[in-house]
Amino acid sequence: MYAQMVDTGVAKVRDVAEMTQEERAFQDRIDADVKVEPKDWMPDAYRRTLIRQIQQHAHSEIVGMLPEGNWITRAPSLQRKATLMAKVQDEGGHGLYLYCAAETLGVSRDAMVADLHAGKVKYSSIFNYPTLTWADIGTIGWLVDGAAIMNQIPLCRCSFGPYARAMIRVCKEESFHQRQGYDIMLALCRGTPEQKVMAQDALNRWWWPSLMMFGPPDAASVHSAQSARWKIKLLSNDELRQRFVDQTVPQADYLGLKVPDDRLAWSAERGHYDFGEIDWQEFHEVIKGNGPCNRERMQTRIKAWEDGAWVREAALAHAEKHAARERQAA
C-alpha cells in the first residue's frame, strides 16, 4: 500500500509468555482498543515500526505529487486544472499531517527527509510509473486513490492516536480524489473513439501496478502478523486487494473498458472476482529502485530540497533577527 512491506524488526510474533510485564500491559490495552498516545510507554519495536510505516506513508503522499503535477500545466480545461491543483495540494497536506504524526514518536522531519533521499526508507511503488497521457490522471484518481482509500479507512481505527486522527482527516478528503478521477474517465469514455482508446490504454498500464500497491501475498509474512497484533495493520494485503478488485471491476464495466486480465471472472461460489497472477518480480524490481521513474522521482525531490535550502535558512535568519529586535525594544 502507501506503506509497503514495513519491517517490524521482529523475527517472530512474541506470545504472551515471552512478554515483559510492561509489554503485556501494552498488548492488553491494544486488545481493549485503547489508543496509544505519544507519551505513553510503548515497546521500542512498536515505535520503530510505526515511524517506518507513517514515514513511508508520508513520503508516498509527497512523491505522489510528482506524476500528477506533470499534467497541471497541460490539463484540458481551466476547471480540470483548478481541480488537479486542489488535488495535488491535498496530497501535500496529507504528507504534512503524516510527518507530524511521525514526529510525535520522536523522529525529526529533517531525519525523515534525509532517510528518503538516502534511499533508506521507501515510498509506494506506484509512483514510479510515468503519466504519459491525460487519461493517466483520471486512472490515478480512480484506481490509485481508490486503492488508497481501501487501505486508509481501516487505518482510521489503528492503535496509535495521532496516526488514526491523521487518517480520519485524509479519508475525508480522499473521496474527492477518486471521484474527480472517475469523472475524467467518464468524460473520455463518452468522448471520441480516440479518447476512449486513450482511457483503455491508461487502464491497461495502471491496472497491475495498482494491484501491486497492496503489497506481496499474505503467506507467512511475519511483519504483517506482528503489525496486525499491534493493530497498525487491520486487514491483510490479500483481503484488501480482493475488495479492491470486487469494487473496481463493475466501475470499469460501466465505463465500457476492459480490465487487462484474461483470467478475470466472477466466481459465484466465492462471491468474489477471481483474477490472474501478479508479476511479483516487477514489483520487487520497482521496490529495489529499478522502476521506470525511480531515479527521476528521487532526483526531483532531492533537487527541490537542495534548491530550497537557502529559503529555509533565510526565513529562519529573518525570524531570529525580528525576534531579537523585539526583545531589544521591550
Binding site: E37, K39, D40, W41, A86, Q89, D90, G93, L96, Y97, C100, A101, E103, S108, R109, D110, R165, A166, R169, E173, A309, R312, E313, A315, L316, H318, A319, H322, A323
Partner: protein, 94 residues
C-alpha cells in the same frame, strides 16, 4: 546549515460556536508564518474561522504516569452526576 524550523501546534475554531480544537502541528519560523501555513494545511475546506498557534516547546502536558493520581479521585464521586439522584416519575421539569 541544517537547523530545523520550530514546531507549532495548531488549534482551529470551527463555525459552530465550539472552542478551538487541536488539529495537528506544522513547522514555521514564526507565529505569522505558522498561521499562514495552518490556513493552507488545515483549513482547505472551511474547517474553521479562527486559528491559534502555539510553539510545541511551550506546551506543558500532564504525564501519563500521573493519570491515576489525577483522574481516579473523580471515579468514586458519582454524586457529581445528576443521574445519581433518581426522581419520581410524577415530578416534571427537573
Amino acid at each position: 546549515m541544517s537547523s530545523e524550523w520550530p514546531l507549532w501546534e495548531i488549534f482551529i475554531r470551527s463555525q459552530h460556536g465550539l472552542a478551538h480544537k487541536h488539529v495537528g502541528s506544522l513547522h514555521a519560523v514564526d507565529a505569522q508564518m505558522a498561521i499562514r501555513n495552518a490556513r493552507d494545511v488545515y483549513t482547505r475546506r472551511n474547517e474553521g474561522i479562527s486559528i491559534w498557534v502555539a510553539r510545541s516547546a511551550d506546551i506543558h502536558a500532564s504525564s501519563p504516569g500521573d493519570k491515576e493520581a489525577l483522574f481516579e479521585p473523580s471515579n468514586d464521586k458519582v454524586y457529581r452526576h445528576p443521574t445519581f439522584f433518581p426522581m419520581p416519575d410524577d415530578v416534571k421539569h427537573i
